[in-house]
Symmetry: C2
DNA sequence: GTCTATATGAAGATAGAC
DNA sequence: GTCTATCTTCATATAGAC
């Protein structure tokens, strides 16, 4: 049974990678807002709550961000940048075989959702709350990441290494497995993030109809 | 590429089954609130917007529901009741083979998310917004539905028909595939809900390591 | 950059007439 | 059951002192 029911997600701690976290107060605000947006949703968290958790008055936030929406926009951008970066890096380190590429993609996708669950929940689940002015660039990033998986799957299908009836249905299913990891994974889970990513990569291959090597005990 | 980006979900129409929709104004309010909660989230939709969409003043809503939270509670309850009912019915019509049971479960799970996407998005995604007083019973319902799948997978593993390293990881992955369907499926999608459910049931079997009958062309 | 003070509007909810 | 009118609280955001 999933731990932490009654909460929106199981994770309790918001983390931003040092390379994404601005120095000083701006970084603190982002991390605090990330936690509140993840737990209550963008509309459900107020700037007063954010300010209180940071340890300042709400008016002072406006010295760092022009609006609440800009805070969310920055978090969404960071989340999808990190997602794209980790997938890009994983694909650089593997060959041209679509099976290898699916493993790399899914491993990176799942590991990111397990390691930064609050960032993933907010960047994906609250993106729709942004005006098109502030959200369009990040939507484009997201679409590109989906497109990468779609291209891999299509190539594998054309080369006969995957056996599926419909590309999008497989892409959506594989993406979904990873997206939901952010809601139930915590560092206390009995399997660590890398192992979850390994196992989910295998699930993805199976889903795509890739035959597995025969079991050792089976002649 | 997924249609309808920029929106929280692709569906544009809220539907409640006649057996779940109360007669008269109460039913209209539920359907209207369902659409707004699905599109903007519970916190992002106001009772004034709901009232306006129904065609009345906000004060009049209180003749039908004691609070905004009670409207959400009712929608969550309906959603999880329908989910449980459709899974229960599907399992009654199949045998004792865990493979058959997984197919029945996933088919019902996915079909429900495709046919009632707004209900699924709200019942699952906004449940956390309820106080424990109003949400506890529905949380219990949800946990039971997950438990049913967990039991099926565990039985299949014990009987040697499934080959997976970790029960929860498989259960979460299979559940996730279906949950996300609610976000991208629309009746205009090129594959209908029943076919999506069929294909996702096959994905689930593959994910669980069930060997498929050899391809006709492969001797 | 942070504060106090405040503008301005919107939120959920209630009272009481019809 | 629906309305008008209103209460009270809370929201985002700004002005201006320090």
């Amino acid at each position: 049974m999933i731990p932490g029911a009654q909460r929106r997600l199981a994770a309790t701690h918001a983390t931003l990678l040092p390379e994404h976290k601005p120095e000083g107060t701006r970084g603190v605000i982002l991390e605090v807002a990330l936690k509140l947006f993840a737990e209550r949703g963008y509309a459900g968290a107020s700037i007063r709550e954010i300010a209180e958790a940071v340890g300042m008055k709400s008016a002072s936030l406006y010295a760092h961000f022009p609006s609440k929406e800009h805070i969310l926009a920055e978090l969404c951008r960071i989340g999808h940048e990190e997602h794209r970066r980790s997938i890009h890096r994983a694909l650089l380190e593997c060959g041209a075989d679509p099976r290898e590429q699916v493993v790399a993609y899914v491993h990176a996708h799942v590991a990111m959702h397990a390691q930064f669950p609050m960032l993933a929940v907010v960047a994906n689940g609250e993106l729709h709350a942004l005006s098109s002015e502030l959200g369009a660039a990040t939507f484009e990033l997201r679409n590109q990441s989906i497109q990468v998986l779609e291209d891999i799957v299509r190539r594998g299908l054309e080369r006969g290494v995957f056996r599926i009836a419909h590309v999008w249905l497989a892409v959506a299913a594989i993406g979904a497995m990873g997206i939901r990891v952010a809601y139930w994974y915590t560092p206390e889970f009995e399997v660590d993030a890398q192992q979850v990513a390994d196992i989910y990569a295998q699930f993805a291959l199976r889903l795509l109809g890739v035959a597995e090597p025969a079991h050792p005990q089976t002649p």
